[in-house]
Homo-oligomer: 358 residues x 4
């Protein structure tokens, strides 16, 4: 048996642990393991693979990023290429991809990635590849997964950052706005905001009103607490529905951002208090994984190999109800896991006095 491993999309803490567990579990069964370099985009280059042996994966559990590399040119159905006129276009190279796997006698593919990667996997399955998926995203918003690899590290980094910034807010009697990742779901903002004793948490699931935040600030002032910590997800929305995030082009990609500044400025205008904003950005996705992320990543990686062994393909290995389960990769397409407003976590936030902007 020969398998290939791919890591797609943005990096997340735990990718290397998943690669290591999958590799060791496969080697233990006497299989061969290939790693796809820098995503599918490399598959029709001269050296698309590296051989993954025991040496290659030694000591990588605690390393951030992915030893395979990951690419923005990761979608074989829309692979960017430079046209003769110098413009950039995209073309479908998925057949080449499938053929390359055939030529290299790859029996199965372990696809580690987020919803984008799983959508690609779904299409590749239709083209005959045998795939097992591993759910990865620091945003924790993949449908059908109680938790994704990278999330625990992201909230741990965000929580420590909010802790630090809180002491400055308190010393300077300021409003401090900390922007964390989460374009469509508020998991990081909600969990780190609760853990770090934030006063206000703004998430995409709950369009917010400045009035409610100002009220919270005044309530705190009345208690002699002359500072307020506000955690905002990058995808948080004002109740008037205006798009608050402004696109900014850096390199070849569009970055969202700007909500923290906007909230800081509006609240200063409304309250006359000093405010500052901090955007954690890439701090949340890099570096050594937390103990929890190491564990869940190793469990996911090993479980994926057990799927292959049982020829139980086209499944995504997930944690559900505190148990490892397998769900069809296709079942998560076009879906997303948002924060439920009825969840006990949201109730907890309200119970301990956090303003959610509504």
């Amino acid at each position: 048996m020969r398998i290939a491993i791919n890591t797609g999309g943005g990096d997340a803490p735990g990718l290397n642990a998943a690669i290591r567990a999958a590799t060791l579990a496969a080697l233990k069964r006497g299989w061969e393991v290939l790693g796809i370099k820098n995503g599918y985009g490399s598959i029709y280059t001269d050296e698309p693979f590296i051989t993954l042996d025991e040496q290659a994966v030694q000591g990588i559990t605690l390393q951030g990023g992915t030893i395979l590399g990951t690419a923005n040119r990761g979608n074989p159905f829309e692979m960017p290429y430079e046209k003769e006129d110098g413009e950039w276009g995209t073309k479908d190279v998925s057949d080449q991809l499938v053929n390359t796997f055939k030529e290299h006698e790859v029996d199965a593919l372990i696809a580690i990635g987020g919803d984008g990667s799983m959508n690609i996997a779904s299409k590749l399955i239709k083209k005959g590849l045998d795939i097992v998926g591993v759910p990865k995203t620091i945003d924790n918003d993949i449908y059908g997964c109680d938790v994704t690899l990278g999330f625990d590290t992201a909230i741990s980094i965000a929580t420590e950052a909010i802790d630090r910034i809180t002491t400055t807010a308190e010393s300077h009697h300021r409003l401090m706005v900390v922007e964390v990742m989460g374009r469509y779901a508020g998991w990081i903002a909600l969990y780190s905001g609760i853990a770090a004793s934030a006063d206000v948490v703004l998430i995409p699931e709950i369009p917010f009103s400045y009035d409610s935040i100002v009220e919270k600030i005044k309530e705190r002032e009345a208690k002699g607490r002359h500072y307020t910590m506000i955690v905002v997800a990058e995808g948080a929305k004002e109740q008037d529905g205006e798009l608050v995030t402004k696109g900014k082009t850096v390199g070849q990609e569009v970055q969202l951002g700007g909500i923290a500044d906007r909230v800081a400025n509006k609240l200063s205008e409304r309250t006359g208090k000093e405010s500052r904003s901090v955007v954690l950005g890439h701090l949340q996705r890099g570096g050594s994984p937390s103990t929890y992320d190491r564990l869940i990543s190793l469990r996911f990686g090993a479980a994926a190999i057990r799927c292959v062994q049982e020829h139980d393909f086209n499944k995504l290995v997930v944690l559900q109800d505190n148990q490892l389960k397998r769900i069809p990769i296709t079942s998560i397409a076009e879906k997303m896991k948002s924060v439920s407003l009825e969840s006990d976590t949201v109730q907890t936030a309200r119970d301990i006095g956090i303003c959610l902007g509504d």
Copy 2:
């Protein structure tokens, strides 16, 4: 409504977060909150309570220990006292305890503790107290709980410690034996051992044989890996069943210990390699809680208050199948949650080549 909060048994990271959430959630409902100082033993002293208001719980989420204090004289059914002849005996002061609650018009008790505390709670319930329990132990071995508060911090500390000691083992070509907590269950050893890429993990659930460990060491030497990391739970047992832990009296209590030294010495004799042992001990239970422990503790504390509000008493708030649930406090008595040898975590350990001593 007036509630009292007690923290019993050994301290664990997250106790203060649970106290804070329960206090804020109760105050939000217009209730009064009393904290029991240093456990039930104080209940018939002059000042058994402190008043818990917003000020008292500010900023304590990230503090280790418990602001209430905890005591070894925490069992009202066997309260130690000094007899006239100077000897120590125990007596049942539970009726005094119940009366004190009546006198102070305490309507409900939030009991935060481990199995010992829940056994006490079960008996107090029979005497008419209305109690809601919150599961606490770094050992993670309370029956019916997927996770207990304090566990994630304990494995995080243990994992970082094993990481550090591994670099020394590798540089010096040594056998390193790290002893972690876990008298009856191997959760800390297994989870931290996997996360820190240990080579051997010994837990109470799997009596171990030195032969299998020596084999693992030789296998590694053959691969040019001249060091081996061994993580052992304090309650790990040799296959011959001999009790390997020797009691040592410090202060008024008996401490277990000694398994790490014993394993280190035996393996040196068997392999001729240098070995060292480190006992993490109290390092694992103190200090600031991890982000996960802050969250689960805050969720437990707030959920306990919702139980009280619904007059749903004599329940333990637990996390099951990734959801907060309530189970009868009496249902966990005389039971313990051991590591299942069929769990995917044990399979993961074997899949990535960890020797479990069997």
Copy 3:
């Protein structure tokens, strides 16, 4: 003897440790200690002081910020006030300040702060106050001080952040630009850049050329290193001398910023590579101090009291040549400690292949 303690300017990790050591050392000598709330601006309010006793300073060594609070209205010679026409002006309230100290029978003042605070202290000395200074700034740029309290924590936080972001840069083959504090001196950028193995470090002392950075990037690409980590001090300057930082008004103050984005964009244009920027901002100044900062802060605080005891006033307690010394507060006025281009640290940076932009 009765002393007062003031913390001025921006907060820094270690302020509370200095307050604690000064307080305990004074109490040990049987003195009284007053803390000035929120800076000199409070001195003519009803409650300008809090009493600092053993209880007040317990356990604060590891807390970030300052328990006294610090204010932007901290300059008694230019105290902001609202005029009748609603405009804001400033007035000299220094005589009131001196009188308030007399009324409260304050014999000496411990002024903990940066160059701004020491300039104020110099003027107050001329008005007859007996002052001992303690040097505080995360920027480490106070003249005559080998190190200031807060600096070690700032570089530790920055280093960990750069570590994390490096794994993302490597996985995504990106240029990553991390902006750290340092408007006039490059200490944080240079020290964290070296410690975190950055490839390029840009500091105010060395105006930089994009050509040299692009050359470094190409050199790395040629070696198969498809990413480059760039650390830039907020006060770094391009060789053409154009002011690259754009002012942004938030609350009542002007914040610098923007250099990271500018560098990221220019380098993307020049190399065609993706780039991202992260501004660490307030992350660097808050939170629990490092072990080194706890020590140096405690040493400074205790040393200040020994100055008072010896009536050796108008001195700044400093670390010079690895020894605690005392220099006239007036001696640092109008001066700044820049990075020496001949220092072994700069040589080290060049020796290990870091591009300094020149």
Copy 4:
């Protein structure tokens, strides 16, 4: 020019940073760099060296241990060997060592190590080798060095550990005794004890009396502080002068230890309070170096190459008066840097109320 690098004695955080800086600085000058595998003991094996190129030292700054390995068989003047009768003896293989360097055309040796390694270096110099030394020990007791690489990490780990254990001591009203390294000098105990707000610090330089500790405990009880944190260096001595450390043979070496248990037991007997002891042991020497240790190690490593370039041999690169200097390696022989009882650090400890046992 061809140089060789050796790491001798116990590992310390920062060794790899020193190796990396020396290697990169040498390569930059067009030299060749060899690394000695596992210490001098390997020098007359088949493969005594590994080639150190840019690839070999990439990303190792933050790795603990030493990529070269270190050995207990590191003394070429007393190299252990097994005699025909099976007993172990030692012989002088230093001439072989010198010859091997000649054969491999090694022009200079960078010896990274502690006083033991420098004594060996002194003898090798007499035999004609050109050596530059780099001072390494977590104990910080090398004569002529203000600081050694590894020390800052050791006190940071010890401080965090004491922080954690303090919360348990406080919650349980216990005496907690934490044993840190330091057989002959009390640097780690003093610095971590001050930084972590310990109540009692016992160091080899100050023989201690139980009476003074008991007095401190009672004084704290009287203030309502029912716990006491005691930090003891492994080499601390009782005033009666009895040797309190008991040898324990593990593997081939004698480990000191036992002082913590002894102090804990004695103080329990004397005060009737519960006590616990924790021995940090190897936790203090392994793992990723602190930011300060990364910096000082990189500076030392690069400075050593500048020495070689200037043919300024037989020198130890040291930090003195906050500047990198060079002192004769022979000048530190038979000497040790103890804690000065007149130092401001000891004064600081007394000023903030720490009992030093005298």
